[in-house]
């Protein structure tokens, strides 16, 4: 017995695995309906996928029932659409009704039902791809374009209106990555513009019913666009033209701003600058227009034994032309009575002015020439009119004091007061006709010169500020009266067309020093005490004597104090009426000097400084 039990156990242990293996076959797994599709809204197909088959051959069957009936039908066609599919033909397809479909998997051990699915054919329409897709290149006036045409899928009945399809196409260059999609609506043709010349395009079309799924894309159609733009060459041409244009513009801009560019790159080296110093002017010398030659014309009576030598004034004195850079006064270097001394030889003077510039010498020469010209101009006039000659006799005579010499002399109106003059004028010898006879016995005559001044007249000419040294042959102690008649001369001068502006200045003859220098003091010198001449109420100006020209014309310098001169002038005009008394007083004063017929005549005072007072007519002896 025990042996039988063991045998049964052994057999059972052997059989059981075999039996167990047989028991691993299970009913099939659950199938699943994957999709149902209708290409034409008239038929449709459903596909399922099988679950595990359970080890046994399984069969699948599809059952359905329509929406409002309970009758269950089985799939009529399992083969047309392939494996695991069910095809519903036209007769079995109803639209607008829901199908409830179930798939059943059956094997020897059992069956399994899938989940039911509701399907309405209308909503599962997915047509086939469009057919006969053709792409052609057509020409237009704007260039070539693509014309894509196609036909609907064969099965879809669009003609009767059963299905309405809308189309879509996509285009791209062969080497491009992204497609360009276009909706074509219900039309079966489409144009594509703006092509790349020489490119190869790919075109695909698909369609969809108004209530379904998109079809698959059709197979790609290739088309080559002919070259209608030589793109590369034209691009290079465009680049070249553009760069040339830019280059031209830059060149033009730089040319316009040449100076500023140069200034930017190479900044100019600043030159030396001295304040208040006009280099241009110095270089040029005196421009003719600016210089005012104011000179004093001193006429010596030709009847006298004047110095025939005609020493050139250059030798005698020096002409100093003042730099016209003195814009303050506009007068010229009237202010520097020291100027005269400084530059000219043999004359001592305090130099208070700043005319050290060598250009002055240069200017001197120039102005000297001008002065000559001016002098000649003025000098001519006396030739033309005797009156002039008459009115302008100026005799510097030591015989003022009543020497026996029969000479004319210039009389000076002596101011009563004088300030210490530091100016010594050296009067050239030829100015004094009786130079030879001057000598020393005239000394005492010139000694006392109080308020003596020389009147002279300036006639303006381009060169101004001409200082003259004139050397007085007088005894230093002698004083002389100088009278310069100005009145008629002035009138005639204006009539003669001389420069209208006249200025008159007075020079006070202080004394005659031992070097035969006439010490004159400009009346209007500033800082030298009151330069007002007290002739009653008359105001007298002084001016420096610059020199004497060839024609024995005393050339005086215009005073630097234009304003004062102007004031004096104005004042003078006012007091013109009283001027007539002047000479008498003068004459009275100069009794020592002998009869000096000085008749101060009316003088129109010039607004500018340096005026020449009226010269009383010289009495002719």
């Amino acid at each position: 017995m025990m042996w039988r039990d063991v045998g049964v156990t052994l057999i059972l242990s052997l059989i059981l695995p075999v039996v167990a293996q047989g028991a691993r076959h299970t009913p099939p797994g659950k199938p699943k309906l994957t999709s149902c599709r209708s290409p034409d809204k008239e038929t449709f197909t459903c596909w399922w996928e099988a679950g595990s088959d359970g080890g046994r051959p399984t069969t699948y069957s599809l059952f359905y029932h329509k929406e409002n009936s309970e009758t269950v039908y089985e799939c009529p066609d399992y083969h047309t659409a392939g494996a695991n599919s069910c095809f519903f033909n036209k007769n079995e397809t109803s639209i607008w009704v829901n199908y409830n479909i179930t798939v059943v998997a059956t094997n020897a051990l059992g069956n399994n039902f899938s989940d039911p699915v509701d399907v309405d054919v209308v909503y599962i329409v997915q047509p086939h791809t469009p057919e006969n897709v053709t792409v052609g290149v057509l020409e237009d006036e704007d260039g070539p374009f693509l014309r894509v045409s196609w036909e609907p899928p064969r099965k879809a009945d669009t003609r009767s209106g059963w299905i309405t399809l809308i189309y879509e196409l996509r285009v791209k260059l062969e080497e491009a990555e992204e497609w360009e999609e276009h909706r074509a609506g219900q039309q079966k043709m489409f144009n594509i513009f703006s092509l790349h010349s020489g490119g190869v395009y790919m075109v695909q079309v698909r369609c969809k019913p108004d209530h379904g799924f998109w079809s698959e894309w059709s197979t790609a159609s290739y088309v080559k666009v002919p070259d209608y733009i030589p793109r590369e060459r034209s691009m290079w041409i465009l680049i070249a033209v553009f760069s040339a244009f830019i280059f031209l513009i830059l060149t033009w801009i730089i040319t316009l701003n040449r100076s500023s560019v140069k200034h930017c790159l190479l900044p100019p080296v600043p030159g030396p600058k001295i304040k208040g110093f006009d280099q241009q002017l110095l270089k040029k010398g005196k421009p003719e227009e600016d210089l005012l030659v104011e000179y004093l014309e001193v006429y010596v009576n030709e009847k006298q034994e004047l110095m025939p030598e005609g020493k050139d004034l250059r030798d005698v004195g020096c002409l100093k032309s003042k730099s016209q850079s003195d814009n303050d006064s506009g007068r010229g270097s009237c202010d520097s009575h020291t100027l005269l001394m400084e530059k000219c030889g043999g004359v001592e003077s305090k130099d208070e002015s700043s005319y050290e510039e060598p250009e002055l010498l240069q200017g001197q020469a120039g102005s000297w020439e001008r002065l000559e010209r001016g002098d000649s101009q003025v000098v001519d006039t006396p030739d033309s009119s005797d009156a002039r000659v008459k009115t302008w006799p100026l005799v510097f005579s030591p015989s003022i004091h009543g020497s026996s010499d029969n000479h004319h002399y210039g009389t000076l109106e002596m101011p009563k007061q004088h300030s210490t003059s530091e100016i010594t004028y050296s009067v050239p010898d030829h100015l004094f006709p009786t130079s030879t006879s001057f000598p020393h016995h005239h000394h005492p005559e010139y000694r006392d010169s109080l308020g003596e001044y020389s009147e002279y007249r300036h006639s303006r000419s381009p060169s101004t500020g001409v200082l003259y040294h004139w050397e007085a042959q007088h005894h230093p102690q002698a004083h002389s009266n100088f009278n310069i008649r100005n009145l008629e001369r002035q009138k005639e001068a204006t009539g003669l067309g001389l420069p209208p502006s006249r200025s008159m200045e007075y020079v006070e003859v202080q004394k005659v020093n031992q070097e035969n220098q006439l010490v004159l003091k400009p009346l209007s010198s500033h800082g030298r005490g009151p330069s007002q001449v007290q002739f009653g109420r008359a105001v007298v100006d002084y001016s420096k004597v610059n020199g004497v020209n060839n024609d024995n014309v005393l050339l005086l310098q215009r005073q630097r104090e234009m304003a004062e001169a102007g004031q004096y002038c104005d004042y003078r005009e006012k007091e013109g009426a009283e001027a007539e008394r002047y000479p008498t007083q003068q004459q009275g004063k100069t009794t020592k000097d002998g009869p000096v017929a000085t008749q101060l005549q009316e003088s129109t005072c010039l607004t500018t400084s340096g005026y020449v007072d009226t010269v009383p007519t010289m009495p002719t002896f």
């Binding site: 008239e42 109803s94 209106g161 059963w162 108004d210 209530h211």
Partner: protein, 246 residues
């Protein structure tokens, strides 16, 4: 300064262009405008001249078809909107593959193309009319229920409103079409009376949401029916034989 001048020129050009365009359109459409509203002389089938102030059958049919297409599209959008907003996911109809069973109509509607092709024009038109008339009231009802929703999107409300209005005009068009094509005036009201009965609700649908959803989907389906019928009708008007060949 130059830029201002350029802008002014551009504006002027645009204005002139638009004016010209409108003028051109007016000129081109003038005959159409004239023909539309003004009583013209036209000949009816007997050849007698009668005064007519209407469009032709073809144009009317085209217009009706356009109406139907638009209605279908809007109803489809409304259904999708509603589904996304209110219908829980498991109950969705899986991409319009099926809707809930809709109420059956008073008369059978053909369900296949072959059946439909066998229907006469008259029946087609009448079917359309019945369908249209049967949905007028339910759509009005749907509008009221949708207003009760708290968070119904505005677009949904607008669409349903629009659809109900368009449906009325579609009905008018179909009536005119029936009159024109069939010379039949007597049947306009009969079917409508039958469709007055309120929409029968499915007994298992209890929740208002599902009920409304069913309403929308069924309407969508019926809109598609209308559209299809009309298109088939159109084909028959142009080329009768080719329509049946398929």
């Amino acid at each position: 300064m130059m830029q201002a001048i350029l802008v002014v020129c551009v504006c002027v050009c645009v204005c002139v262009y638009s004016v010209m365009q409108s003028v051109v359109w007016a000129v081109l459409l003038w005959p159409c405008l004239v023909s539309l509203g003004v009583p013209l002389e036209c000949k009816d089938e007997q050849g007698s001249i009668i005064l007519c102030a209407s469009i032709s059958k073809e144009k009317l049919l085209d217009r009706v078809i356009q109406h139907a297409e638009l209605i279908y599209r809007v109803s489809e959008e409304s259904c999708t909107l509603f589904e996304e907003m209110f219908v829980p996911f498991p109950m969705r109809s899986q991409r319009n593959q099926a809707g809930y069973t809709c109420a059956t109509k008073a008369f059978p509607i053909p369900g296949s193309k072959s059946e439909i092709q066998q229907i006469s024009d008259k029946w087609l038109l009448h079917s359309v009319l019945i369908l249209v008339q049967s949905w007028i009231e339910p759509l009005v009802y749907l509008q009221t229920t949708l207003d009760r929703y708290d968070d119904a999107p505005d677009t949904l409300l607008k669409k349903t409103k629009w659809v109900s209005e368009k449906l009325l005009s579609l009905e008018q068009g179909v009536v005119v079409l029936i009159r024109k094509m069939l010379d039949d005036d007597m049947l306009t009201n009969s079917y409508y009376e039958q469709g007055v009965a309120p929409y029968a609700l499915q007994p298992e649908v209890l929740e208002s949401v599902l009920r409304d959803y069913t309403l929308l989907s069924c309407f969508k389906k019926d809109a598609h029916k209308m559209e299809t019928f009309l298109k088939l009708l159109k084909c028959r008007q142009t080329d009768k034989y080719s329509c049946f060949l398929h």
